[in-house]
């Protein structure tokens, strides 16, 4: 991995990462804030995502319509994302237009205007966004499964929030959240692309140095290392299809277990791509669960999801059943494959294969400047940039014994949540 970048920390706590890539006249600028749904309490669920929406409403210097127009008219792309641990805003632009992004992001870090009419409009926009998400029965099952996988940890909350909280959140709640978390000391700037680092570094300093160092208050969160007992969720709905989602605890991304878990994921359900922009994925037809469940016609599809998070989260296995297959039989077949994994050491060549797959996914991600800038900030949110740079080496260090230990530690049937979605007709039957 290329480590040719510079990093700096300003007196107010703002961290800056710059990486020059001169292959194309493009630059991608990201601002990351260490705030996400993990920082929300009951009654305020959905606040971080709502603040993210409000950040597009503008500042005195950059009204919302001017921001939007300035980016669009140079052919730029911009957007924002709220996740469990972070919120991020990005602009990818022609290289000679970087100053637009620098100016907008510096300004809206501290000077956004939250006006009450806009706030109420955005309430209905977010409720509409949630309704669109809830149209998908599998998304509803996933929400219920993740919620059941935690006792207290805020990872149990859906990032978009709950209907109840979204109806009750007030403008001053948003403002308080914004004022607390949108501070240089809680932020990181990552830029990759066709620019000169020293010139851009000076510009960033000029834009941000007047912002004071602030103390960020945040809730105390205790990681939940284990799903204490086996839980089941049964959900019925329209249609003819049945789904199963099984959630096991996954380790924090900075935990050494994460790398052995990555091998497990690749082995069980095919490798998860962590690239956000470009790259695409790899099919999973030769994964153990595909062969056991799909090739034996218990299921028509199976997939797995491993995410890089600050605290332990969930590793989920999602199965779309063959029509007429009984969910308990399909689960039993899945368990047989997991049991095999818990009792048999994987071969070294299995690890080599997972490394090759990871190397390919990384190489695909290198095609996009946007993806490269994304990785700098993303890896800093749950670990640090060296996590990304050393990723393949860490995978190479994984020993078959370690994969077995991690499987036994995390994939125990007594420590998981199983969610079933079945057609209404199954309930009647």
């Amino acid at each position: 991995m290329n480590q040719d970048f510079i990093s700096e920390k300003l007196d107010n706590g703002l961290r800056i990462f710059l990486r020059e890539i001169h292959a194309a006249p493009i630059v991608s600028h990201w601002v990351w804030y260490r705030v996400g749904s993990r920082d929300e309490v009951s009654g305020q669920r959905g606040l971080s995502h709502w603040v993210e929406h409000m950040q597009f409403k503008g500042t005195p210097k950059w009204p919302g319509s001017l921001m939007e127009r300035s980016i669009a008219r140079v052919g730029g792309a911009w957007n924002a994302f709220t996740h469990l641990d972070w919120t991020t805003f990005y602009e990818t632009l022609p290289a000679n237009q970087l100053e637009i992004a620098l100016s907008i992001e510096a300004d809206r870090m501290r000077n956004s205007i939250y006006e009450s009419n806009e706030f109420e409009f955005e309430r209905s926009v977010i409720l509409s966004e949630k309704e669109g998400k809830d149209n998908d029965p599998f998304a509803r099952l996933n929400t219920a499964v993740v919620k059941a996988a935690f006792s207290l940890h805020p990872y149990q909350n859906d990032i978009i929030g709950t209907d109840e909280d979204l109806h009750h959140i007030q403008l001053n709640d948003l403002d308080r959240h914004y004022q607390n978390y949108y501070q240089p000391a809680n932020a990181l700037i990552a830029i990759a692309g066709d620019f000169e680092s020293q010139i851009i570094l000076e510009k960033i300093k000029q834009l941000y140095q007047s912002y004071p160092l602030a103390v960020i208050s945040r809730p105390t969160i205790k990681p939940e290392m284990k799903i204490e007992s086996s839980k089941e969720i049964l959900m019925y709905g329209p249609g003819d299809m049945s789904f199963i989602q099984v959630a096991y605890r996954s380790p924090a991304a900075a935990d050494p277990d994460f790398f052995a878990y990555t091998i497990l994921d690749s082995l069980l359900s095919g490798p998860s791509s962590l690239n956000m922009f470009g790259g695409g994925g790899i099919s999973n037809r030769t994964s153990r669960l595909y062969r056991r469940l799909v090739e034996k016609e218990y299921a028509v599809a199976v997939s797995g999801g491993l995410q890089a998070t600050i605290d332990p989260y969930v590793y989920d296995l999602s199965i779309t059943l063959q029509p007429l297959q009984a969910p308990e039989i399909v689960l039993k077949k899945m368990d047989e494959e997991i049991e095999h994994l818990l009792t048999t050491k994987v071969k070294g060549k299995t690890i080599d294969r997972a490394i090759k797959q990871a190397a390919a996914l990384f190489a695909y991600g290198l095609e996009s400047v946007t993806n490269q800038a994304f990785w700098i900030g993303y890896s800093e949110m749950f670990a640090n940039y060296s996590w990304f740079n050393n990723y393949l080496d860490r995978l190479r260090d994984v020993h078959p014994r370690h994969v077995l230990e991690v499987a036994q530690k995390y994939l125990h049937p007594e420590n998981r949540v199983v969610g079933f979605y079945q057609p209404e007709t199954a309930k009647e039957g």
């Binding site: 008219r73 140079v74 792309a77 290289a95 309704e131 669109g132 149209n135 994925g281 790899i282 996009s368």
Partner: protein, 433 residues
Amino acid sequence: MNTNQINWDHMPGEENIVQAKLPNGIKILCKTDYLSPTVIISGYLQGGSILDPSEKLGLALFTSYALMRGTKRQSSRQLYHNLESCGASFGFGASVQSTSFGGKALVEDFPLIIDTLAACLLQPTFPPDQIHRLKMQILTGLQLREQDTVEMASLCFDKNLFPNHPYGTPEDGYIDTVQRIMPRDLNDFHQKFYGPQGMVIVIVGAIESNAAIDLIMEKLGYWENPNWQATPEIPEIPEIKKSLTVFIPLAEKFQVDIIMGCHGPARTSPDFLAASLGNNILGQFGMMGRIGEVVREKSGLAYYASTSLNAMAHGGSWEIAAGVNPANFDAAVSIIKDELIRFITEPVSEDELLDAKFSYIGSIPLSVESNSAVAGAIVRMERFGLGLNYLHLFPKLVDSISAEDILMTAQKYLNLDKLIVVGCGPTPANYNG
């Protein structure tokens, strides 16, 4: 327009795309680029869902998926084992007039991709057990489609906009038509309609063009199909006589997805670029253009509300899509109609036009940032006969469009007396349709 900032060396164009035509008719377009150690393949053959018998809709797509279910020398598992073990991906699909393929690999594994392409095209075996499994997967997808509000609205919209026409029938068919498809149908389809004539292969990435062309020549250069039948022309698109509103109720949903629109220009039509720029102003620029402004920003009615121009080889659609609470269905449709009336009555402002032009030209570098995007651009230029220098000419073409051009194009295609409106989701309480 200032185009000085665009790095033309990186743009795909006549000067950096190496072309070759094999004796059997296969055309190869290759652009070498060492940005990353990867290679992309993308391309198509003639023949798609237009060839589906009406009682077996979905046959072309089914056949394309089935190509990787086993060949004379390798089982499906072996094919996928080879690909997945090196982190490569490869697959087939089909649209109305063509069967497409695409994949990517690290450069050292490029020969594997070409081997896979050749084996699947020349020697598929369609093993019955694999075809049965694949059929169950396709049927499951169709069952899921029946519960998807966006998909169902789109299906109904196409059916009503293009009645009894290949553009109005789904490439993936219907449950009953797919159930009728048997392994011998796939074999027959392959025998009749797969051949090198009109096939295009695009390669982009860290490989010398001549090496790529030599390899393709070795694996596919001698492919012939004496039984090959040409794809028929797309029939005339039937005219819409009057506007129509359809609501598809789906239980236990929370949002209504709306698709509304009219016929649009073909990709090769002289109207296309004016319609495209107009579409940008109407429902894409910034946060979804004028439609996004009135439906989302000013009314707070929807998370998404935007427009799209789906231009195909012989026609297309100009669509508006939005997702709203059922109680807001009528209001959203009404607001969108008002905005359409404004769009076909008044010319867009000079500022709006300039914004859209700058946006189009400025976005060129971003649009060809990755090898995949470059391959996609080359495929489009070739498929629609735009010429391989199209991206170089694009700024001048964009610059030549006037507000009057956009108004005339909008008036030609967007007719509220011939507007198809489809909603799918929970039935609005006040809906009288």
